[in-house]
């Protein structure tokens, strides 16, 4: 290339301009289009309405690109802003949502949830087994520079950690079981810049032994071009960085995984002190699994997953962001959208299985979630977009949550778990040997409507099917971003956020003592 591409683009941009005639014609048209003075019927903007922007991005997201990674947050029908929704922001859709929560349940049945509130403060709240949620504590006050989402992980004994990307730096804070949250630590190496590609958060894992690993996508400062408030990687696709903190120790210096990457790896705990990081390798079109040393984060090996054949696009793949889960006993499952189908791989110590398609053909599937039970069975949930016919003969696009149980000798049993005629989104799954659960947000206008609620379906005790969907939350305004977790004893906790009748954003939860049991009434976590 002859010269710096950015300089050439800038020069070319300055070299083109509209004609005077076109400018004058447009100027006159704009003046003529100015509305006559009238009283605005719109309410003053509220900060809460920033929510809808992210909701729009999440619901609109997922356009398939050949051999490119697409987001985890699902494809589907277009988002329709609802002015009466307290998160709705009239007109503009540009902005960042907050208040996504992540929850985990420890071996005693206690629950821990972390989130970023609307003031830009990372908070965490605890609930003892069968008790009430305690007052949220502040993990880090970030203000306007706060990210929209954080990554959160906890192990069975209650060690927990959060990580986030802020201003090109990867930050993390840890909380050993029974102690307070430590101060945030910058994990980014000098000369490197974290790029929030894909899931917008780092990958994070707290192992059962208490080690904490954080992964992110990075590029050298020299390859990063800043533009406006965003950051982009120019000239290289970036690579994966890993930072590790041994139990009770300090963070080690971040180290790279050799090779290119285009999305932040997802982490899960494998066998024998190993951690698996799964990610997409960009232009090569390969999905990679790196085997990491849990104590140091050093990559021991990197292998490629074989993608299952699909009828669509036989010569090229559209690939979603990989997700991965473990069962605490070294068994791993990862799930990826491949050409509109959901594929699942299982690793049980003898290596990775061949990819298996669990979603049916004819439904544009995406946004997978995966969980592994003690016995090696895999619960996968995803959203499927179909076209439904109305009574008047017209059609509309609908988004439905599907789920399947596979592996461990079980047949694939893909089933629709959310109701027809609705827009379901944001699936979340949890699975143990005693059963499992799928949660999602449901509404006639997706997560932006005024008749939205969180619903859940249990995996039946035999593991062969799904029970009827049950509501967890009351019906009201969205959006709702549910997350669900279960411990080995089957104690299950779901959390979500929503808009009250008074147009305040709140966080709520529901719990069940065991899979299949009755859910509690919604409980308020915050504010």
């Amino acid at each position: 290339m002859r010269r710096d591409l950015d300089a050439l683009i800038s020069e070319a941009r300055e070299a083109v301009s509209p004609s005077a005639e076109a400018t004058e014609r447009a100027r006159a048209a704009v003046r003529a289009a100015t509305p006559a003075p009238r009283r605005s019927r719109l309410r003053p903007p509220r900060r809460h309405r920033l929510w809808v922007l992210g909701a729009a991005a999440l619901v609109l997201g997922g356009g398939a690109a050949t051999a490119a990674v697409v987001g985890t947050r699902g494809s589907g029908p277009p988002f329709v802003p609802a002015i009466e929704n307290c998160y709705a922001l009239e007109g503009s859709r540009v902005g960042i949502p907050r208040l996504f929560s992540e929850v985990d349940v420890d071996e005693s049945g206690g629950a821990l949830v972390a989130w970023v509130d609307l003031a830009g403060t990372i908070r965490a709240a605890e609930r003892p087994a069968s008790g009430a949620w305690g007052t949220p504590v502040e993990v880090a006050a970030l203000g306007k520079t706060a990210p929209s989402e954080i990554a959160f992980s906890a192990n069975a004994r209650g060690d927990a950690a959060v990580a986030w990307i802020q201003g090109g730096r990867t930050m993390a804070a840890v909380r050993p079981a029974g102690e307070s949250w430590g101060a945030p630590v910058d994990l980014t190496r000098e000369g490197q810049e974290a790029a929030a590609a894909g899931r917008d958060t780092p990958g994070i894992l707290v192992t059962e032994a208490g080690e904490t690993l954080v992964t992110w996508l990075s590029a050298s400062d020299a390859a990063v071009t800043r533009s406006g408030r965003g950051v982009s990687v120019s000239g290289e696709l970036g690579h994966v960085e890993v930072a590790a903190r041994p139990a009770g120790g300090d963070w080690g210096v971040a180290r790279p995984i050799p090779g290119e990457a285009t999305n932040v790896p997802a982490l899960a705990e494998g066998a024998s002190g190993r951690v698996a990081a799964v990610y997409f390798a960009g232009m090569s079109g390969r999905v990679l699994v790196a085997d990491l040393d849990a104590a140091t984060g050093a990559a021991q090996s990197v292998r490629s997953l074989r993608l299952p054949p699909t009828k669509a696009r036989p010569r090229a793949y559209a690939i979603g962001e990989p997700v991965i889960a473990d069962n605490g006993r070294g068994v791993l499952a990862t799930s990826i959208m491949v050409n509109g189908r959901i594929a699942v791989w299982l690793a049980d110590g003898a290596g990775w299985s061949a990819g298996r398609l669990v979603s049916p053909a004819g439904v544009a599937a995406g946004d997978p979630r995966v969980a592994v039970a003690d016995d090696g069975r895999v619960l996968t949930a995803w959203t499927g977009v179909t076209r439904e016919r109305r009574a008047d003969g017209t059609t509309r696009r609908a988004r439905t949550v599907y789920a399947a149980v596979s592996g461990g000798g079980a047949d694939v049993t893909a089933a629709r778990v959310s109701r027809l005629g609705r827009l379901a989104s944001e699936p979340s799954v949890a699975f143990t040997g005693r059963g499992g659960v799928v949660t999602w947000a449901d509404g006639t206008n997706g997560i932006s409507g005024t008749d939205s609620r969180v619903e859940a379906a249990w995996v039946s005790a035999g593991g062969g099917g799904f029970e009827r969907a049950m509501p967890l939350s009351t019906v009201g305004k969205g959006p709702l971003f549910p997350d669900v977790a279960v411990n080995a004893g089957g104690e299950t906790v779901a959390t979500w956020t929503r808009c009250t009748a008074e147009n305040e954003a709140v966080m709520e939860s529901a719990a069940a003592p065991a899979p299949g049991a009755e859910w509690s009434e919604p409980a308020r976590i915050a504010p």
């Binding site: 014609r25 991005a57 590609a197 533009s227 408030r229 990687v233």
Partner: protein, 175 residues
């Protein structure tokens, strides 16, 4: 671009001030037109797209939250109008017309024309992301909102677009 000044102008324009609408036009017209030109690759289409987008924006100011940045909103409408127009025209971006761009002059013009031709030859999704980010100066988060795709998708499309653009310009050099 000063968002506060935009906000004041939007509030006044919503109240019916043609002067405020005119001031908004003067502040954003050139950027909107240049974006439309890079997206369509055609001066006449860029004139239509940018003017139509501006008219829609002014008529729709009542639906806009002035606390939010104006530029991304305007450029989203520019993008949608460009998509509509190109679809209506039932053709790909007319590279030949880009090469005849009448306002690209002087020594800089040859390279600029080569660049625009290379941009015009990119796949639509890559071209949109590259134009909005590198040409119009929007952040990747803003581009993700404008094109309605996840940030990861935008990142990937940009990386591919930049790689492809570099390759095409190198091909030009080698030719």
């Amino acid at each position: 671009m000063d968002d506060t000044e935009d906000r004041n102008l939007i509030l006044r324009a919503r109240a019916g001030s043609a002067d405020a609408s005119g001031a908004l036009f003067e502040r954003h017209w050139l950027g909107a037109w240049r974006t439309a030109y890079a997206l369509t690759g055609n001066r006449a289409l860029a004139d239509d797209v940018a003017q139509d987008a501006f008219e829609r924006v002014i008529r729709g100011l009542g639906q806009f939250d002035p606390a939010r940045p104006f530029g991304p909103w305007l450029h989203r409408i520019v993008l949608n109008r460009a998509r509509d127009v190109l679809k209506r025209e039932r053709r790909q971006t007319p590279v030949a017309e880009v090469l005849d761009g009448g306002s690209v002059n002087g020594d800089a013009g040859a390279e600029a024309r080569a660049l625009l031709a290379a941009i015009a030859a990119l796949p639509k999704e890559q071209r949109e992301v590259l134009v909005l980010h590198r040409w119009a100066g929007h952040s990747l988060a803003e581009v993700a909102e404008i094109v309605g795709s996840p940030l990861g998708t935008v990142h990937s499309r940009l990386a591919r677009g930049m790689a492809e653009l570099t390759r095409r310009l190198q091909d030009d050099d080698d030719a």
